[in-house]
Amino acid sequence: MTVRHVLALAMLVVATATLLLSAGALLVLPRPYARLHALAPATSLGAPLVALALALDTGPGRGAVKLLVIGALLAAGGPVTTMAIGRVTAATDNTHSPEDAGT
């Protein structure tokens, strides 16, 4: 097992932990708007880190490039979708009764 693979494994562990943390936060955070903050670690750190770990494990080549592209797409898509969801949540919650503020 080379240093590269060990590094990849370490990144995998960190990434998995981040993703699990995000998922846990999604469950725990009470308000719908606050829940959106739970998405950030997963999309910005966890997912790209997994892609990076895989790219590292695969070694240089076309496969690694594809993996990095996927990582970049995930990292870029996260904030954009989060903001869009936030806007819809705000818009609909403002126009309607705050009945579900506590769910």
Partner: protein, 253 residues
């Protein structure tokens, strides 16, 4: 039948079906069985046809007739949507108003659009090699185009969507599949027979007729899905027909 009676009847029927279906499942070969005679034969035939993706070989070569029917269903759905969502004289149009989109969404959509198109083309082109093919790639291509709607507004989509052309492309691609089948008959062999040279295993040109049919399916699916979605988008964003109530007699023209 009252709702309660209906639901009671359903529970009775469901209990019977569930019991007998469970008994049937116990007689099935266990999950993960090693006995797959047809599958094994199909794999062998695929390798003889020098197609790397067995599923593509089955879909476009061994059981191409199924796919012909399947693509006809898609073609029929496009025609059906044309007929069902046609503009009748009841409907009058309104112009959709532009929407304010978050700048981040706009930027992301603009960046993602080319990537998505490339991905779609890649999935179609490698259909006979890696997972994917005409159908999957076609759907990605169609969805990619609708990123323009998400990122900007419907007018942007209308500008980059040559609807008439796509409508015809759909028909032409559906016809191409049928005609490619006829090629075998013209050559004096069977309908849908793979008459082209088979090429080298695991290259883009391998598989004879497979990549050609695959490409036709890709074009048909992409244009078909776009056209169907276009009819739905038109209904949602444009047409405001009668506000409901009892159906009315058509106004004199």
């Amino acid at each position: 039948m009252s709702r309660t009676a209906r639901i009671r009847l359903f529970w009775g029927a469901a209990a019977v079906i569930a019991a007998l279906y469970t008994m049937a499942c116990l007689r099935l070969p266990h999950f993960g069985t090693a006995v797959h005679p047809y599958g094994d034969r199909a794999v062998a035939a695929t390798l003889r046809q020098r197609t790397a993706n067995t599923i593509s070989s089955i879909n476009f070569d061994q059981r191409a007739f199924d796919t012909l029917g399947e693509e006809s269903i898609l073609f029929g759905a496009v025609l059906g949507a044309t007929a069902l969502l046609r503009r009748t004289s009841h409907d009058h149009n309104t112009r959709p108003r532009p929407v304010r989109v978050l700048p981040s969404t706009r930027l992301f959509g603009a960046l993602l659009l080319p990537v998505a198109l490339l991905t779609g083309i890649y999935i179609v082109a490698h259909g006979q090699l890696s997972p994917g093919g005409g159908f999957q790639g076609g759907v990605v291509l169609a969805t990619a185009l609708h990123l323009a709607y998400v990122a900007a507004d419907y007018r942007a989509l209308q500008r980059i969507r040559p609807r008439e052309l796509l409508d015809q492309a759909d028909a032409v691609a559906a016809g191409a599949f049928t005609v490619l089948g006829l090629a075998g008959l013209v050559a004096g062999v069977a309908y849908l027979q793979n008459v082209l040279p088979l090429g080298t295993f695991n290259t883009l040109s391998s598989g004879g007729l497979v990549p050609v049919i695959n490409a036709a399916v890709g074009i048909e699916v992409a244009s078909g899905v776009i056209v169907v979605l276009a009819y739905f988008l038109d209904q949602t964003l444009f047409a405001t027909g009668p506000a409901g109530g009892a159906f009315r007699k058509k106004a004199e023209r």
